[in-house]
């Protein structure tokens, strides 16, 4: 393996911070939802809020980066989806046929990231509403969303969506594009690898 700058350092840093903060958010959030051990509520709430701020700032910076000079917004906002590519991709997933040349796997992958990022922002907004539920603007938004309980349930439900996504994300990354896993975590590549 050799060092590679295939995935820029900011993207790798983002991914690490994202991974750790999301793990903290999931565990502490689950504790607040269903306390699984005594005497930790204060600590867990503190951890949840701290991780939430780190996560949110991280996400905002990543979006800023995506639209910056070396930004990669195009592949998320303008994925090259067409019928032929979809047909080949689905045949690949369902019949285990090899994909012909091209970025087929990554195109749908990036499209799914776009959806997830939008949902992450929804998650941030619902989270903020749950902390700051008493101002006049928050109360209006909460009413719009169907009451504070609906907001809480939405926050919880989205957590499950992210959990399901993470399962698929990890499976796909490891089986479809393992070299990229090494790239994003370690910045290392097999010499042969020439993906982007």
């Amino acid at each position: 393996m050799v060092k590679s700058s295939e995935i820029a350092v900011p993207r790798r840093v983002y991914h690490w911070i994202n991974l750790v903060s999301m793990a903290v958010l999931a565990v502490s959030g689950w504790y607040v939802h269903k306390p699984f051990a005594p005497d930790l509520m204060g600590l867990m709430r503190y951890a949840h809020l701290t991780a939430a701020y780190i996560f949110s700032i991280n996400l905002v910076l990543r979006v800023y980066y995506a639209f910056g000079k070396n930004g990669d917004w195009r592949k998320y906002l303008k994925p090259q989806i067409n019928r032929k590519m979809l047909r080949l991709t689905f045949r690949h997933y369902l019949l285990y046929e090899h994909l012909p040349e091209g970025d087929h796997y990554r195109i749908l992958q990036n499209a799914s990231y776009l959806v997830i990022v939008i949902l992450l922002f929804v998650q941030i907004i619902t989270g903020v509403l749950l902390i700051e539920a008493e101002g006049s603007l928050p109360t209006q938004v909460i009413t719009l969303l169907g009451g504070i309980n609906a907001v809480r349930q939405g926050h919880l439900f989205l957590t499950w969506v992210f959990a399901a996504f993470t399962v698929i994300h990890v499976y796909m990354a490891f089986t479809e594009d393992f070299p990229k896993v090494k790239l994003i975590f370690l910045g290392m590549a097999d010499e042969k690898y020439s993906g982007q």
Partner: protein, 342 residues
């Protein structure tokens, strides 16, 4: 005088107001006429008012207010009683207290003396100075919104051209009702209201933030077994307490002149000040994880989430197995090709 002080404190008025309020109370010799209407109710709010300790019921009815019409406590009946109401309407400037919801599906669900309750409310509100909806039914409609055939509605949905103050809780807290009336009499103004027409003074703070058991919550002590004496003072969240979603001053101003309130008595908050009460806050004694969307009403949120994630995991596992079994085994070269292609 004690009551006047309480009223002053409740609305955070300067101490000087205590005198104004005392004056207003004295003026109650001209006593503000009150018409108390009962629609689709259980008379629990009346009961609550009559159980009031400070002011006591007799003080309230005989001295503080001039209740001209009240279906449960008035001595007169039939034509005589109705006549008293009509006379008061002619006088004008009275306060109407509405208890219970008004049927929207069909007027005939609630009729008094052959007249529909909706009409009675409308004609009584016509000359009123102030309309107060007491209790959750009069505030938001039938407590179990959408599940009663009469489709009860709150008083504010009907009375549009008069100032309406709503005092939800099941039943109404007497101190709030008396304070609101006193405030109106002494200032001539309707107290500052929130978006649900509730006085900000009583309904602006989250119960959870002022709960006497908040320490137990922070510490992670949650009551799971009603019979365990060690858990007697534990947080009631897992037993369905709606405190984290309920705006009320219950934790600061206890019921019946500070005697007690739900959580202190060991009962989880039912969230009766909120429009979500009761249907969207059920079940009462369990942490609420059900969806409140139409037919999905009884589906557990965590079950859906677990199923979703489980399906993803099972799918990944099955796909992985399939990959091992079905993937073209002569793919060594193809893999190389593919890697290059990518």
């Amino acid at each position: 005088m004690k009551l006047c002080g309480a009223v002053t404190a409740a609305f955070s008025l300067p101490a000087g107001f205590k005198r104004d309020i005392a004056y207003a109370t004295e003026q109650a010799i001209k006593k503000p006429p009150v018409i108390w209407l009962e629609g689709q109710d259980c008379a629990g709010c009346s009961e609550s008012l009559l159980s009031s300790l400070n002011p006591s019921a007799e003080e309230l009815i005989l001295e503080t207010l001039s209740i001209r019409y009240h279906e449960t406590i008035m001595a007169g009946t039939g034509m005589v009683a109705e006549h008293a109401r009509e006379e008061t309407i002619k006088e004008g400037g009275y306060i109407v207290v509405v208890e219970g919801s008004i049927p929207k599906a069909d007027d005939r669900f609630c009729e008094i003396g052959g007249k529909s309750f909706r009409e009675i409310v409308m004609e009584t509100a016509e000359n009123a100075a102030l309309v107060i909806g007491v209790g959750s039914c009069a505030s938001y409609g039938a407590g179990i919104v959408g599940t009663t055939p009469s489709e009860g509605g709150g008083v504010a949905e009907f009375v549009k051209n008069k100032p309406v103050v709503l005092l939800p809780t099941c039943p109404v807290k007497p101190s709030r009702l008396v304070s609101t009336i006193m405030y109106y009499l002494s200032t001539g103004k309707v107290p500052e209201l929130d978006r649900y027409k509730r006085p900000v003074a009583f309904y602006s703070e989250l119960l959870h933030d002022n709960c006497p058991r908040r320490g137990q919550f922070e510490k992670g002590n949650f009551l799971t077994d009603w019979n365990d004496p060690r858990q007697r003072e534990y947080c009631l969240l897992l037993k369905g307490c709606k405190g984290p979603r309920t705006y009320t001053d219950c934790a600061q101003v206890w019921w019946n002149d500070g005697a007690n309130f739900c959580i202190n008595a060991g009962a989880p908050c039912a969230g009766c000040t909120q429009p979500e009460f009761y249907a969207a806050f059920s079940p009462l004694y369990d942490k609420q994880e059900i969806f409140n969307i139409g037919p999905a009403r009884s589906i557990n949120l965590d079950s859906v989430g677990a199923a979703l994630t489980g399906a993803a995991a099972a799918g990944a596992l099955a796909h992985g197995l399939g990959r091992v079994i079905f993937e073209k085994k002569d793919s060594q070269d193809q893999d190389e090709d593919m890697r290059e292609a990518l």
